[in-house]
């Protein structure tokens, strides 16, 4: 339930993949004996680069230093590195610590997510088919939402737990006076593996 921008992730992968594929294909064609057409482009491009470097002196009088193109390249790289480094920790946000926030003229009321955590965990923990319960609160579409992760004991059917979790959510609605979206995520130990779940019939 993180707020990571999934389209941006895929766009990044696609663009970088496309560039890598293009560069790779170019290198392969140039390296193979059949790559005559692209190879013929290489030396004009190389001399054009030399010309560009020669035509862009830092000091117009030509007394000192070389071209300003490497300097510009270095600055561009610095800028890109800053963008990438900023983009990396932008993933995985979206947690919140209150499930209900109500603003009244007299002040504002916030119900902490640990309240919902305790209520839901207490209601589900004692069931025989539940191994553990974890509750976290997230901001989804600008509103708080709860994620209830229920780990079942091996072999249990999910249906009764889903019904129970649904009832718990309704009970929470009554207590809070507001309907909070709830996601129930049901996971389990890997009981499919042979011999992993012998003690539960």
């Amino acid at each position: 339930m993180t707020s990571s921008n999934r389209f941006a992730n895929r766009l990044l992968l696609f663009v970088v993949g496309l560039v890598a594929l293009a560069v790779g294909a170019f290198l392969v064609i140039v390296a193979l004996p059949g790559g005559g057409v692209l190879r013929d482009l290489l030396s004009p491009a190389s001399s054009a680069l030399d010309d560009a470097v020669a035509a862009t002196p830092i000091d117009p009088s030509g007394a000192t230093g070389g071209s300003w193109l490497p300097v510009a390249l270095a600055l561009l790289c610095l800028l890109l590195v800053i963008v990438f480094v900023v983009a990396i920790p932008a993933h995985g946000h979206g947690r919140t610590d209150s499930v209900v926030v109500q603003d009244d003229p007299a002040g504002s009321i916030a119900v902490s997510s640990s309240f919902a955590d305790t209520a839901i965990t207490d209601a589900l923990r004692d069931r025989r088919d539940v191994a553990s319960v974890g509750v976290s609160a997230w901001t989804v579409a600008g509103r708080p939402a709860l994620k209830v992760r229920v780990r079942l004991t091996a072999g249990s059917s999910p249906a009764p737990v889903v019904a129970a979790a649904s009832d718990v959510a309704r009970g929470l609605d009554r207590v809070l006076g507001e309907t909070v979206p709830v996601l129930v995520e049901i996971t389990g130990a890997s009981a499919v593996r042979k011999g992993a779940d012998s003690r539960v019939a």
Binding site: S4, R6, N9, I29, S46, F84, H91, S157, V184, A191
Partner: protein, 196 residues
């Protein structure tokens, strides 16, 4: 009491059923940072007129030209090209494939539910075990997007009551409204196991 916006549930469930690709994106960003940072360092070296560490961005094309000018095949360039192309294909694949996470949703009018496929398989395996009076080592199950497969290994010399196992797994599947829907198939292996 206001109900839950069904669009919100759909959105949450869609996001829970597919990979966010955050992991791959972070790996790519870290690698890009290293590569671009290195090119930046080489650019600074070139701007100061120092000798390049590995290659100078100013004469990279000249280096490439001279390395392939002999007319033959240049192994280094070819290898680098193949590696880059394969990496590119993998990244494009990651970008366009759905990245499903092996989960099913269950219809409920109050909560949005995702169930791990392993939980479904485990519940089917238990139903098969109880109805067929088998030990847990004789049953294995897996669940894919639309199919559930239960494999039974009979003990040598004893027949497995495949009908009752099939009925039990079907009723277990029907007790939960999984989306996408699952059809169960029970298969008994031809060879039994001694002492199973």
């Amino acid at each position: 009491m206001s109900g839950i916006d069904p669009g919100l549930h759909r959105r949450v469930l869609r996001r829970e059923q597919h990979s966010s690709r955050s992991g791959s994106a972070i790996v790519v960003l870290v690698l890009l940072t290293l590569v671009v940072g290195y090119v930046g360092v080489e650019a600074v070296y070139a701007a100061l007129g120092r000798r390049a560490l590995l290659f100078s961005p100013v004469d990279v094309l000249a280096t490439l030209t001279s390395s392939v000018d002999g007319g033959g095949t240049s192994g280094l360039v070819l290898g680098a090209g193949v590696v880059a192309a394969v990496v590119g294909l993998v990244l494009i694949g990651l970008a366009v494939t759905p990245g499903r996470r092996g989960r099913h949703t269950v219809d409920d009018d109050r909560v949005a539910v995702v169930v791990d496929d392993r939980v479904i398989a485990s519940s089917l395996a238990r139903a098969a075990r109880v109805s067929g009076r088998l030990s847990d080592q004789q049953v294995s199950a897996w669940v894919s997007r639309r199919r559930a497969q239960i494999d039974l290994t009979p003990a040598s010399g004893l027949a497995v009551d495949e009908q009752s196992v099939e009925a039990a797994t079907r009723s277990e599947l029907e007790s939960v409204a999984y989306r996408p829907e699952l059809t169960a198939r029970v298969r008994t292996t031809d060879t039994g196991r001694v002492g199973a």
